[in-house]
Subunit: 409 residues, 2 copies
């Protein structure tokens, strides 16, 4: 297996004030191509640690990619560290920099010329990498049988440059890869359920859980991947998203489009998160019409015409309120199906009967409606995310025509 090392340079990564995006993004591209990322290191904006890391990895790995530290200020040390590592001076690559300068309009030329002496410099004998999104040149070179790439840390620039020069040179080492996205399962229960699959030693399986969605990524020989894929589908006939869908909103869009059905929502504790998730998909307005976000009790009455007595008698977090919210949203938006959510996200608002994390969901179509109750653990943010993901799961299953067990309807 071919190996790479990723180095991210920047004091802001070590003070926790900025989270790395570039390394985890590029690591997934390496993994997709069957490469092994041996190590990821975050280094300060300082010459010695950068030179030391370059010395350490030269000859130890096929590729080293550096992110960051190529800006124009005195904080940016990567360029000089590369020159020191190679024991060569920095020189200005005017030809490469002219190509960057010509992208800027006349008003910006003064600033670009000012940065030529820093951002246009590369270690002598190395190759400049064009940057079509920013003003700093990238750098690439071979040393001790290792290929080095150094790109700016701005994610747009880093990703574009890596896509242009790093990813094309990776040769896919796996014959086949396939992913399944499974909803409705806790990770530990899913592992038990798929024990026969996880026991296998003839292919590689990664488990990547997110909220109410677990990605199972298989990689290995094609016939084995296909065999295990059909095992998974027969063990999980109802819970794998359709092929090509990587999220619940994508699955909802796929299913609603296929069946020519429309959906809407009525949200209380999720406050718009269901709408925000669904509208992340371009073109979704054909199947998702909107969401009535009724956070206060008055809004439930004013926008959705939830009768006062329902809120007074049963409370806003109740099966009764959830069902009215879903039915009114379905009628108001004139959709085939509507989902509603009302719950106690916490930390305030809980009672003995209605603890933090208790959430009611309603599903309504013109023919029938039902409600569900779930209890989620975690803080406000987590309860809301889990409630959103559960609502999307119900909506997807309902679009599939699946019978959902309604213990509280």
């Amino acid at each position: 297996m071919k190996r790479a090392v990723l180095l991210a340079i920047g004091d802001e990564l070590l003070s926790g004030s900025r989270r790395d995006i570039n390394c985890s993004w590029l690591a997934s591209k390496f993994a997709d191509a069957g490469w092994e990322v041996r190590k990821i290191e975050f280094l300060p904006d300082e010459n010695a640690p950068i030179v030391q890391a370059l010395d350490h990895w030269a000859g130890q790995t096929e590729i080293v990619v550096l992110s960051g530290g190529l800006g124009p200020t005195h904080d940016d040390k990567t360029r000089q560290a590369l020159a020191d590592f190679l024991s060569v001076p920095l020189i200005i690559d005017h030809k490469a920099y002219n190509k960057i300068a010509e992208r800027y309009n006349p008003a910006e030329q003064e600033g670009i010329e000012r940065s030529r002496s820093t951002q246009g410099a590369i270690p002598e004998g190395t190759t400049a990498v064009h940057n079509s999104k920013g003003s700093a040149l990238g750098i690439s070179f071979h040393h001790k049988q290792t290929v080095f790439f150094s790109f700016p840390g701005v994610p747009d620039e880093f990703q574009k440059m890596a896509e242009e020069c790093v990813i094309p040179i990776l040769q896919n080492e796996f014959a086949a890869r396939r992913s399944f996205f499974v909803t409705g399962w806790a990770e530990s229960l899913l592992k038990d359920h798929l024990a026969s699959v996880f026991k296998r030693r003839d292919l590689h399986i990664s488990i990547l859980p997110s909220v109410n969605l677990i990605e199972l990524a298989l990689s290995g020989e094609e016939s084995i991947v296909n065999e295990v894929a059909s095992d998974i589908l027969s063990l999980l006939p109802h819970d794998c998203l359709p092929s090509g869908c990587r999220s619940l909103p994508e699955a909802i869009y796929y299913e609603a489009t296929k069946k020519n059905l429309s959906v809407s929502a009525a949200e209380s504790c999720t406050g718009g998160m269901i709408g925000a998730a669904l509208t992340g998909i371009s073109g979704v307005s054909k199947v998702f019409y909107g969401s009535a976000v009724c956070y206060s009790n008055d809004a439930k009455k004013d926008l959705l015409a939830v009768p006062s007595f329902i809120i007074e008698k049963y409370g806003a977090v109740s099966s009764e309120c959830a069902i009215v919210m879903a039915e009114r949203a379905q009628k108001m938006f004139k959709t085939d199906i509507a989902i509603s959510v009302t719950g106690i996200a916490g930390p305030d608002g809980a009672t003995a009967e209605k603890p933090v994390g208790m959430v009611w969901f309603g599903l309504a179509s013109s023919e029938h409606s039902c409600t569900f109750r779930k209890f989620f653990s975690g803080d406000r943010d987590r309860v809301r995310k889990r409630a959103t993901a559960a609502a999307l799961e119900y909506l997807w299953r309902s679009l599939k025509g699946e019978e959902i067990v309604c213990p509280y309807s």
Copy 2:
């Protein structure tokens, strides 16, 4: 300055399938206490690289914290690597593990007992760290004048254990720290505007930009921090969030509560993101009533009663539609102020006159209403995030009673 190194163990970090949360979180805690995080390394689930890293950092830094690799499966290598590094055997700490076991209910005892032989093991001579949120013991010990901590990688568990044993031993090295959150500025323009502040060498300033919000974090001697803080406030009289507020939703909640004003929204391209952002705050229902998410044109008519001729004549992305959306939301939710957003998030739906990234905003109160137009660059996700943040900025300024320049009203 005191120094620390953070090591995150896990193949999933190196395949890009999971992003690190623990290290960046803990790094910010170290920075808050004036410590320097020297390096962050992501290592594979393999004995040799872990032992090598421990050997390398022992005696080189005051604290080393490890995250991950303490689970019960054969993938988890950290515990054995720590024992190998110290050249001692693993022993079961029954007393420490009993404390974990007693938290679980009778149905779960079998599983807990099964994991005792792995998750209850620590290297001989080290100290078990109690885990109040999971089933694996943490480990701590001194070696070559370095203090080592090893915690499970599950963020809840890691953070709780670090809060209990690591953060208390950090001594604050800075006399004073103070943060300002500035909205409405591009980073480069803000740097120019505050040039006199950034020139200073007698205090440390970090710039931490997020969407339409830049945190300026000052640290240094108390009198200097106070002096520079008052410079910043006089240079930015209208753009710093109120003291104690770290986000636009918090500032909106603060201002609306102070003035006893209520707000609502009508969202098209943001699809619920404004509502989702505001309802992230517990107790916000006192000032934020709800949002009418009208993603399809029909929903704008059905839910907000936007007249058909407005959409036909001017289009859904227009000043005319934005103003009607805001006015109807303000009346329907019976709030003092309402904000509306309608724009082209892309990649589809653009025309020559209405490019991707063009967004109209409307602000309405019972007395008057106005609209604004902005152009955002970037992909769908970025346009939507920036539109949400701009809407929140308008809402905040409007609550402050600030006159907002309305070039297109």
